[in-house]
Symmetry: C2
């Protein structure tokens, strides 16, 4: 008799998966049922609490459309996204660590050249980001593609912000023959994840803020190497230790070095004061 | 630094809950994060698999409205609903076991008297359901309210089926001075849970059918006793051992006893052949 007493329900639910033709699906669902039932047995929800959880999940799903992905946000804020990321991109010596893609990437950002700016007329503190793309042994990788995007000094990405031009603060740059790259932009700002939905309510109920520390996104790819999706975070940002989505790794925190020399600024085609960020990307071989 | 290497992410996610003001919410979310991360570590989903899971949950949420609750259906078909039910209604000697409420209950069903019919002109095999409502020690409970509902011989509830009158196969009956109840209806049929959504797709992918064995729903309540939500299942139904929502318990399977005597039928105001179901409900004291 299926699902009889309390201690046999889990067994019955697991048995119902026995005929799943796809072995991987069977493995995933078996683990899901074990953990879901384990959770229920741990917390012993009242029927009202269970219905509250159902309502939360329903509301989260109803907020999802082509512009908003509240379930990814839930996964992010529970640390699950970064755990999946970590499992899929285990660190290797000399290779850059990964971080989450996030919801703001756009395909086909404008191609830019060395030392070009991606910030147009955006008011803000000028920054030059520069470094090398190399293999794990330090050999330079020429022609690596850096797909770059970040939010403005106002904390908003251009596709959230009608005041910014299309594709502002986005660009695609190739490393040169020595693996070098450099581009100009303005300093990004910390910003809150969307918090007007169920996930925002949950953050508030747990006494958490919705902020992410300031960061610049990169996808770095090159023939023969595994592409890396990552973020460079601003050292000194107030939210480094409490990123709402757990995306920060020590190795991805970079210094914004301030320069006040007009001569130096003129040589680089910017106005003083300006900042430089030096960061070298390391790529693993493709698997 | 929050969420740094793979083995520290769970710790960081748990630490983020430390300031949750509500102790019960903190307990629930702490267990949720442990089990969610445990699930991810067990199955090591690829990024594509994780996005597939996100898409499944989003689609499940998008199907939820005031007529359809796909997340309850997901909970049902994974055995979670019956586990919550079992935890909240632990069996006691002499008390009726519980089963799921399901999505088809309606408030304010018509009041009926002893031996009244709830099936109107619905074609089907006549049934008399009868018995007693008693306390655990067997003492009769007079004036207990039986809220009764079930699907038709076509497998559909009236609120899913324009061919049935409003409130067909629903009624509210009071037990008499001896705790006795009796009503007339037609035999219910097995039927599939809604399977045109993501949950149906999941059932199909696991080689499961969407059927529930035939049953009649009851909520039995009386002053001073804990109300019981349960279902009586038809012995011999093909789906008793594979109820899609794991709702069946041995003690809730009842015999439909066939009677062919015209005399007997006439005495009871039905036509032969007809069936009788005898079931006594036991109520626990209110807590």
């Amino acid at each position: 008799m299926s699902g009889a007493p309390e201690d046999r329900i889990t067994e019955a639910a697991l048995a119902s998966l026995a005929a799943t033709p796809d072995a991987r699906l069977k493995q995933i669902l078996t683990s899901l049922v074990r953990h879901l039932h384990g959770f229920v047995r741990d917390v012993e929800p009242s029927e009202q609490e269970w219905l509250r959880a159902i309502a939360f999940l329903s509301e989260t799903g109803r907020m999802c459309d082509d512009k908003r992905q509240e379930f990814i946000l839930l996964s992010d804020t529970l640390g699950a996204t970064m755990l999946v990321d970590a499992i899929n991109h285990r660190a290797a010596d000399g290779a850059t660590e990964s971080s989450v893609l996030g919801p703001f990437h756009r395909d086909a950002a404008p191609d830019i050249g060395q030392m070009d700016s991606i910030s147009g007329d955006t008011p803000g503190e000028p920054v030059i980001v520069r470094g090398r793309v190399a293999a794990q042994d330090g050999a330079p990788i020429a022609g690596a593609l850096l797909d770059i995007w970040h939010g403005g000094p106002n904390g908003r990405y251009e596709n959230q912000d009608p005041s910014q031009p299309d594709f502002n603060l986005r660009g695609r740059l190739l490393s040169d023959a020595d693996g070098r790259y450099a581009f100009r932009t303005v300093k990004p700002s910390s910003y809150p994840v969307p918090h007007d939905g169920p996930v925002g309510t949950l953050l508030q109920a747990t006494g958490r803020h919705p902020y992410r520390p300031a960061h610049i996104h990169f996808i770095v790819s090159a023939d023969g190497y595994a592409p890396i999706t990552t973020q460079l975070f601003t050292r000194g940002d107030s939210y480094l230790d409490s990123d709402a989505v757990f995306g920060v790794k020590d190795s991805l925190v970079v210094d914004y070095v301030r320069h006040d020399s007009d001569t130096e600024a003129a040589e680089l085609g910017v106005n003083a004061p300006f900042y430089t960020v030096d960061y070298d990307f390391g790529l693993k071989p493709a698997t």
